[in-house]
């Protein structure tokens, strides 16, 4: 089989090449002349970048020539982009950082809100990338528990960034010993375990407060991060629960810049509710390149994320370890009593608040097979503290030996698994 002929794309100033690549194909991209950036990270000239299962936009401020080898499911050039306003936003934020540095104040704390599929994560990435390009060290707070940009779906994370964001690997891989082009980032992760904050809003708000507390404590000490500020990526919830979460988030993180992406009504509401002295609310248009990701695509992204956690990417492969563990050496926990029924299903007047943060034991059984469990950093089971203890990582249950009272798990690294309390969430993964 011969390699497909590379395809050449000529982009004018401020054009964007949008490509979508299926999960089972690989596409190589190379910048031949000019400048180009992907989600804010500048591409090097004549360097091959490889993508799979991604939807990316290559933007150029000055015009460029790009070579693409491989088949993309979608590829076209767009000349209308909101990039100018994105850049202006960055400059405005950067000016605030400069002032913050001069006056020894805190840098901007930015929250990006909007419905699903408007490019919130891409915009976060862009703003962070731009900040990193100017040697800032922002902290990225990811409250979108459905996606898990840094670790795994189901988590609330905060990640200090110091090196540029890798175009191929996204935010970089957390704490690998592998050589990666991006930096090895060290996130702080709390386990929520549900795809949407609505599934257990009490736990969500508990974790949100805890995360904010830790981030604020770090910012107190970390001057570079303090002046660089934080970028908060939210989940796409914009109903009443969503508004509550947004309000809590603004308070907890002392947010002073709210960016509303692609939603006029939300912008109006945010302006009405939160615009006051010291808090700026701006709206930005969503990029035409943003496509709706259907459930299947999200599911595939999730699977890819889990796979990457254990096995790494093709560029930096990781070796997970399989270990056998006795049932009695671990405790598997989950939050909430049994399976949570939606609030509407509860009898009128019934309050579920107590059971929402109730920790229950899960007996290891066949049900656990293919589950991804989160390993808590907790050493003792003290409620409710254990809920708010951050994560050490994840393991994957690959086999259950009921008779021998053992289970085989895939652990990210060799050695025994450091902690005995494991959270069971709704995350499952069928390893191919």
């Amino acid at each position: 089989m011969t390699l497909p002929e590379p395809k050449e794309w000529l982009l004018d100033e401020e054009n964007e090449l949008r490509i979508e690549i299926d999960f089972d194909t690989k596409v190589k991209l190379r910048l031949v002349t000019g400048t180009a950036e992907i989600f804010g990270t500048e591409l090097g000239q004549n360097v091959d970048y490889e993508f799979s299962g991604r939807k990316i936009a290559v933007f150029t401020w000055h015009g460029c020539k790009i070579l693409i080898t491989g088949t993309c499911s979608v590829e076209y050039i767009a000349n209308e982009t909101p990039m100018l306003s994105y850049l202006n936003t960055h400059i405005a934020l950067e000016q605030r950082r400069v002032l913050a540095t001069q006056n020894n104040k805190a840098g901007p704390r930015i929250m990006i809100v909007g419905p699903n599929d408007v490019g919130k994560t891409s915009l976060s990435k862009m703003l962070l990338s731009y900040a990193l390009r100017q040697s800032r060290q922002p902290i990225y707070v990811d409250l979108d528990c459905s996606e898990g940009s840094i670790t795994m779906p189901g988590c609330l994370t905060a990640t200090p960034l110091t090196e540029m964001i890798d175009v191929e690997e996204g935010f970089g891989s957390s704490a690998t010993s592998a050589p990666t082009a991006g930096s090895a980032v060290m996130p702080l992760a709390y386990y929520f375990g549900f795809p949407s904050p609505k599934d257990n809003s009490k736990l969500y708000s508990l974790l949100l407060s805890r995360l904010a507390q830790s981030v604020n404590r770090r910012l107190e000490e970390d001057e570079a991060a303090r002046t660089s500020g934080i970028v908060i990526d939210t989940n796409g919830l914009i109903d009443a629960t969503g508004y509550e979460i947004i309000a809590q988030c603004i308070k907890a993180f002392s947010v002073d810049v709210i960016i509303v992406l692609g939603h006029e009504r939300l912008y109006a509401d945010m302006t009405r509710l939160h615009q006051k002295s010291g808090v700026a609310v701006i709206k930005l248009a969503k990029s035409g390149g943003v496509v709706e990701r259907d459930t299947a695509f999200r599911r595939q992204t999730q699977n890819q994320k889990i796979r990457e956690y254990f096995y790494g990417t093709s560029k930096s492969e990781l070796a997970p370890y399989s270990t056998m563990i006795n049932f009695h050496d671990i405790e598997i926990l989950r939050v909430g009593e049994g399976s949570l029924a939606p609030s509407s299903a509860l009898p009128i007047g019934e309050d579920r608040k107590v059971s929402e943060t109730h920790v229950v034991n899960v007996e290891p059984s066949e049900n656990l097979l293919h589950s991804v469990l989160a390993v808590s950093n907790a050493d003792k089971r003290v409620e409710p503290d254990i809920l708010e203890t951050n994560l050490a990582g994840f393991i994957y249950v690959s086999e259950i030996h009921d008779a021998r009272k053992k289970l085989t798990v895939l652990s990210p690294c060799p050695g025994r698994i450091p902690k005995k309390f494991w959270w069971l969430g709704s995350l499952k993964w069928a390893e191919d």
């Binding site: 040697s135 690998t176 980032v185 701006i282 930096s316």
Partner: protein
């Protein structure tokens, strides 16, 4: 084979010890927790063998003996948790501290040094192992006693048994005599300025050619002063290419350097040069002199000159103007730096030149000596933030220069290069054209062209310095102010939905700065700033490391580590996270591998030995031995040319880029006979094999006996250590049952090694317990707790080893 080039001659060492004695003074207590944070941040930058960092850390340690406990803990922690390839620099740091600072550090390190050393030794690769041995070899015969002989013997024993274990399972653990690395003559006349072990990657510390006669350590010190100053000026040049003054100064300094190298200077002439040099130091926001430190700093091995510590600015910024302008007629002499002056807390200029990606703690505190910044000692006079002459402020800022109508008028501080030039010419050091004049002992005159008055004490009353002294200068990002300015020059963009839609062509320029300095391996672009080149260099270094690791990928599998706990996340900084992301509990992995050494490893070891290159100078020295008179250089060369005494093959001569000297591959000299290291190892092995059976039996017997006595003497210990002992025994039992006759000898090794580790653990536990009774320090409970944590970790590691073993069976 084991050269000890980095050692300082005893004379110099002693002087430094004395200096240190003078420097020991009471300080205000420092918060141990804060100290730990600061030291840990500094330590995090020690990811490669860098002399400047080691020096700086040593100084910090020397200045903060009151929190030595915390510092030692931090270093130990670092050595334990650092990735295998970063352990060596940390060992060098320990070596540097015990040799140069000594004092309380000796006792502190003595508690754990055995396990610390051996644990690290066990996991590092073979080239690092050789360096470990090299360091160890210098300890027993050091000018002052570093560690008790028993401890060193223990380490040597451990090293030996590990080596043997690696060399093959058929060999017994017994070996005769001392390891050869401690027998070797240590004297090396070039040790002063030959490339040192620490930080051999610094191009500025190029070794002086062995032919250059260096007469006295004083001249040597002067030489270092000059080199340091040159570094600083070069840095200034890089920061600001338009800085003609610095360029000129560098040129002069280069001449001076070669002059000092090639000429014998009288003390007077070196003094004159020193005084001239002193003027050139760029001042920093730091006290010009510390009266309590007449001789100054705790001594450090090079490159810090023994008697002159450069004043320099915190690495990335020009000093901030003092927040409180000085009263106009303050009798404050301009900071003029006599050679002996020693500001306590000043980063070495090396920090600026060194390619350190993460060397600056983001907390806004200068690196070295930073531990004391928050609490200035009472004697510390007003920091004097003057604009450095060679570094124009990137942004126009108000400069509240103190005007000094009443002050004596010494030479202006930003001494132009021509001043130095003129003075040097006047004093006869330089010829009329700047060419080097012939210098000899009687060409000196005290005339100095109206330059510096003698150093004077600072009469500044303490009360006048409350403001800036209490707030440490913030380490802001003034290096980026060029960039910041371009951002600000766009006009303040309001964060309103209207304002951010306006087209601003200049905004793109901010992101794609001109002229571009861009990495060709990725899109990284250096922000337009004064030290862009330095940043780019460190970025390229990073690429280099990444690429090298990529190449290693095939050999070694990588995996994701566990995330750190909440508290660690809050207090850690990216620098140390990305460098040493393996928490303690993963070291276990290497422990497991250790027991499964096989033939493959042996071959690798032999290959590594063959690759080992030994400096020609070292070989010649070794061959000449003590009686230098009778064996000439030529004779020694002839012996080398004859080849290995065992296999008679010739040695392969190669040019060693790193050390810049001729070297031989796989050569070793023992008892004035030259061998291939591999041939000799074979010889030793075959001799040892004969004694193996008897020795193995003896070893087991001794081990058991020792174990009994150790146990009986440890009644005061916490229960954990006994239970871990029990675990060891159980594990050995399991092994005994499982293993067949033919691997018995290896088992003996294992037992031996475990026994040693166990013994040494006992040992340090007991020391600890003893110290706990004596020392009333406040942070002791933490240290004890930590110790117990380590113990329990070890215990659980052993337990899980046991689990694995039982599962296997």
């Amino acid at each position: 084979m084991y050269q000890q080039q980095y050692q300082q001659p005893p004379a110099q060492q002693q002087r430094q010890q004395q200096q240190h004695g003078g420097g020991g003074q009471s300080r205000e207590p420092i918060d141990p927790f804060q100290a730990r944070q600061l030291y840990r941040n500094e330590l995090a930058s020690l990811t490669f063998n860098s002399k400047p960092i080691i020096t700086s850390l040593t100084i910090s340690a020397g200045e903060n003996t009151s929190v030595s406990k915390v510092i030692v803990q931090t270093i130990e922690e670092r050595l334990r948790t650092a990735p295998a390839n970063q352990k060596l620099p940390t060992l060098y740091l320990i070596d540097s501290i015990i040799k140069n600072v000594g004092g309380p550090y000796l006792n502190q390190f003595a508690r754990t040094i055995v396990t610390l050393f051996l644990d690290a030794y066990a996991v590092v690769d073979s080239s690092a192992k050789a360096s470990f041995e090299k360091v160890l070899g210098t300890w027993p015969n050091w000018t002052s006693q570093l560690f008790p002989k028993e401890l060193i013997a223990k380490i040597e024993q451990g090293v030996r048994s590990m080596r043997q274990q690696k060399q093959g399972s058929y060999q017994s653990s017994s070996s005769h005599g001392k390891p050869h690395y401690s027998d070797r003559p240590r004297e090396d006349p070039y040790s002063q300025n030959a490339s040192s072990m620490y930080g051999s990657n610094g191009s500025q510390n190029r070794p002086t050619p062995p032919s250059a006669p260096v007469e006295s350590s004083g001249d040597n010190g002067l030489l270092k002063d000059i080199q340091l100053l040159m570094l600083q000026k070069q840095h200034a040049m890089i920061m600001n290419p338009a800085d003609q003054a610095s360029a000129k100064q560098v040129a002069i300094l280069q001449q001076l350097e070669s002059l000092v190298k090639t000429t014998q200077l009288t003390p007077e002439s070196s003094n004159i040069i020193r005084q001239q040099l002193a003027q050139l130091w760029t001042p920093a926001p730091a006290p010009p002199a510390l009266p309590v430190f007449p001789q100054g700093m705790p001594p450090v091995s090079s490159p810090m000159p023994p008697n002159m510590i450069p004043v320099s600015m915190p690495p990335l910024q020009p000093p901030q103007p003092p927040s409180m302008p000085l009263p106009p007629n303050l009798p404050f002499p301009p900071p003029q730096f006599p050679p002996q002056f020693q500001p306590g807390s000043i980063p070495s200029p090396h920090m600026m030149g060194a390619p350190l990606p993460m060397s600056i703690p983001p907390a806004g505190i200068p690196m070295s000596g930073s531990l004391q910044m928050p609490i200035p000692p009472p004697s510390m006079p007003m920091p004097m933030p003057l604009p450095p002459p060679s570094m124009p402020m990137p942004m126009p800022r108000p400069m509240p220069m103190p005007t000094m109508p009443n002050a004596p008028a010494p030479p202006t501080l930003p001494a132009p290069a021509s001043n130095l030039f003129a003075s040097l010419m006047q004093s006869g050091l330089l010829g009329p054209n700047g060419a080097l004049a012939n210098l000899n002992r009687n060409s000196q005159s005290p005339m100095m062209g109206g330059t510096p008055p003698p150093p004077m004490p600072i009469p500044l009353p303490l009360t006048s310095a409350p403001g800036p002294a209490s707030t440490p200068p913030t380490l802001d990002r003034a290096d980026q102010s060029e960039q910041d300015r371009s951002v600000m020059s766009l006009g303040l963009i309001e964060l309103t939905s209207q304002d951010i839609q306006r087209r601003r062509p200049a905004a793109i320029q901010v992101m794609y700065g001109t002229p571009p300095l861009q990495c060709n391996q990725c899109g990284y672009r250096c922000p337009k700033s004064a030290d862009a080149q330095k940043k780019m260099d460190s970025h390229l270094d990073w690429h280099f490391r990444q690429n090298r690791r990529m190449k290693d990928k095939a050999k070694k599998s990588h995996s994701r580590s566990w995330l750190v706990g909440e508290e660690d996340w809050i207090h850690s900084r990216e620098g140390d996270l990305s460098q040493s992301q393996q928490p303690v509990f993963f070291d276990f992995a290497s422990g497991v591998n250790k027991t499964s050494k096989d033939e493959q490893a042996l071959h690798e070891e032999i290959a590594a030995m063959k690759e080992q290159i030994v400096s020609e100078v070292t070989l010649v020295q070794a061959l000449r031995g003590a009686d230098t008179e009778t064996t000439t250089y030529i004779a020694a060369q002839n012996i080398i040319a004859k080849g290995c005494s065992i296999c008679k093959e010739k040695f392969i001569k190669v040019w060693n880029e790193a050390e810049e000297e001729w070297s031989y591959k796989n050569a070793v000299v023992l008892d004035k006979t030259i061998y291939h290291a591999t041939c000799h190892a074979d010889l030793v092995r075959s001799t040892a094999r004969q004694a193996a059976a008897a020795a193995a039996a003896a070893a087991v017997a001794t081990a058991t006996a020792e174990s009994m006595s150790a146990l009986s003497s440890s009644s005061t210990l916490p229960a954990s250590s006994e239970s871990s002992d029990a675990t060891i025994t159980t594990q050995m039992d399991i092994k005994d049952e499982d293993m067949k006759e033919d691997i018995k000898p290896e088992l003996n090794h294992l037992k031996d090694e475990q026994q040693e580790q166990h013994d040494s653990k006992m040992d340090h536990d007991m020391t600890l317990a003893g110290a706990a009774a004596v020392a009333p320090e406040s942070d002791l409970p933490t240290s004890l707790k930590r110790k117990l944590e380590i113990d329990s970790e070890e215990k659980s590691e052993l337990a899980s080893k046991k689990t694995i073993l039982s599962e296997d069976s």
